[in-house]
Subunit: 391 residues, 2 copies
């Protein structure tokens, strides 16, 4: 959720300017490297307008010249690319027991990442920790504060007073706080607040499996299971900011109907392993068990395939994404095993002849996925205008 109600506003010169700069940045990012004339053609702006904007962006250091690239006839266009050092994004993930932080450069590369345990999850402690991590990140990566475009904050959803409570991951001390206002004030920069799945989904777009995709779905393994939906380059957050609660949908599992995350999630794997006497609190343990072909883990995997297949089928049919991406706090090996085992039905709108991507892809994995995603929110928004106009 953006934590601010979106309102449709009118256009004026100032807003057009900012919009057009974002459009140009977005094209540069999408192409990796482009000339002005091509940007003009793609964006429907005049070459002159693009020239002016490019000059501005060069001035600000957001992009860099890459020399001429001879293509066909005519004068070869000067190429431009994003300047990795042109802007940085600070990402923070707040959990009840710890704060994770990361700093990404404009190209989506991680230049700093850190975990800090929390003695308490009250607002004072968390805020102090976040501010300390920010200072540390800027110092470690030698980045001037003015170069930081904004901060993404990941907090456990769902947002607002909903029927889902007591899952243990909530920050009860934060219930009456609007995190958007709070962190805007504390950090003194633009702030974006999302849940872990949404943020992780964005990470794939900025530097990952969803590079170049405009519409996709990301299934996120956290403690439970989340879904981030990107449509037209923007997150679909729902009316109250809680879209993507895929963990609670009913799916078939061994003849009965269960909530998806009771069968497919790290917590469910750990519970299953515990019944076999195996304690696997950490990802590394799971990775080991997977590599050694542990029977208990294998049993859990086998059992997870049916509900996961159902969930992906549902996502494909409801959202018609370019691809479904599986990622999050799970070992690559586990994700790969699941992807290999899921047999998607041929009888689906997703079974197209003109696909450009596989239907199911593995995305970024590991504990930091959501944190990197928090920062990715900022980078994505710097390159994505709020407008999508039919061309």
């Amino acid at each position: 959720m953006s934590a601010r109600p979106e309102n449709i506003v009118g256009a004026n010169a100032e807003r057009s300017r900012s919009h057009n700069r974002q459009v140009v940045l977005g094209r540069v990012r999408a192409a990796g490297q482009v000339g002005r004339a091509e940007i003009a053609r793609a964006s429907g702006l005049s070459t002159q307008a693009v020239s002016n904007i490019i000059a501005d962006l060069l001035d600000q250091g957001m992009i860099v010249e890459q020399g001429r690239r001879a293509a066909a006839r005519g004068q070869p266009p000067v190429q431009y690319a994003l300047n990795p050092a042109g802007g940085y994004a600070f990402g923070v993930e707040i959990r009840p027991d710890a704060v994770f932080a990361a700093l990404l450069d404009f190209a989506g590369r991680t230049v700093f990442s850190e975990r800090r345990s929390l003695a308490s999850s009250d607002r004072g402690t968390v805020t102090a920790t976040v501010l300390a991590l920010k200072a540390e990140a800027l110092a470690a990566a030698d980045v001037p504060g003015a170069r930081v475009l904004g901060a993404g904050i990941v907090m456990p959803g769902p947002f607002g007073a909903t029927g889902i409570r007591g899952s243990g991951s909530e920050l009860t001390a934060w219930e009456d706080t609007d995190p958007f206002t709070w962190f805007s004030d504390a950090l003194g920069m633009p702030v974006f607040v999302e849940n872990d799945a949404n943020a992780a989904a964005m990470a794939e777009r900025v530097s990952g499996a969803a590079a170049g995709m405009e519409s996709y779905a990301f299934i996120y393994f956290g403690a439970g299971l989340g879904l981030g939906v990107v449509s037209g380059g923007r997150l679909m957050t729902g009316a109250f900011g809680n879209a993507g609660e895929i963990g609670h949908i009913p799916v078939p599992c061994g003849g009965e109907t269960v909530a998806l995350e009771s069968a497919v999630s790290r917590l469910s794997a750990q519970r299953h392993l515990a019944t076999a006497g195996i304690d696997a609190p950490r990802l590394e343990t799971l990775a080991e068990l997977c590599e050694t072909g542990d029977r208990a883990l294998r049993a859990w995997l086998d059992r997870a395939v049916e509900p996961l297949t159902a969930a992906i089928t549902i996502v494909e049919n409801l959202l018609d994404p370019q691809a479904v991406i599986l990622g999050g706090a799970m070992p690559d090996t586990v994700l790969d095993h699941l992807i290999g085992a899921v047999a998607l039905p041929d009888r689906s709108v997703a079974n197209r002849t003109d696909r450009t991507h596989p239907r199911l892809i593995r995305g970024a994995s590991g504990r930091m996925t959501a944190t990197l995603g928090a920062a990715a929110l900022v980078i994505n928004l710097a390159c994505t205008p709020k407008i999508a106009v039919a061309h």
Copy 2:
């Protein structure tokens, strides 16, 4: 699907102008009646800009003055409202055996509606029928052609070569035709192509249960079952235009897992009734059976509740809409019965204390729902800019 790839384009004076006119129209429609100053505040434009735009829209006859409304202190603002006769939208629904057409005024009221049987569903016959219906509609409602803002075309999805084939509702003769180009040429006006569920969803926004809602989901009873998702006032069509194929998702039904529309759809009801020796080809028959408390229909309804509940739970959790609306080609009584019987789980992100709408609502019903929706696409787009900017 919009049938044209959406591309992010830059802003210029011309596009800003058209955008701002849409913003103003959208505010007038949303409010029913507003003054200029209020529009200016809501849209972030200057009062002068709003004044100019209002003058333009008055000139064009899109809006009408409604006199002053004294509110608080100060000079009472002159109120404006949409002029119902300011614009019309032509809606067409093409089925293998018939063409439905409707003409809506700018306020969303039906001024003409008609069904025409098709001897053949080839392009020539269909196109001639559509053109004849258009002429008839304009003549019957005494609407000058220039007042028609565009045409919405509803055709059976899914679009493109997908794994879903042979459902019998396809127009095989149209497979190699781009309906957007085809009807743009034939009708000589802006054209929008969508599937039935998406169009019907839009109808609710223009004149129905979703008035004033920005994000909602519409479950559409056609022959099968479809889903239209509106997010931020715009249809979510997915990467290939086939989002909302809810009929094919797996749901629990009496201990087994089935495809939703095999248990919840008109076709499934008719099949069930047929096993009891009842032939109910028409909606009226179903309505009668429902009113007389027919045992076979009741059995079907009882059986449909579980899978429908699961589907709605899935939709609520994945999309977090303001409400889920049930509508389409089913009798009101049947829909009402289903709505009454569905018990949604309290443990859901949709169970909020700050809801403004019930979680489940009945929408428009009857055979014409999708046809009216086709026209509604046009009206909605006339009042909805492609921009949504955080305010």
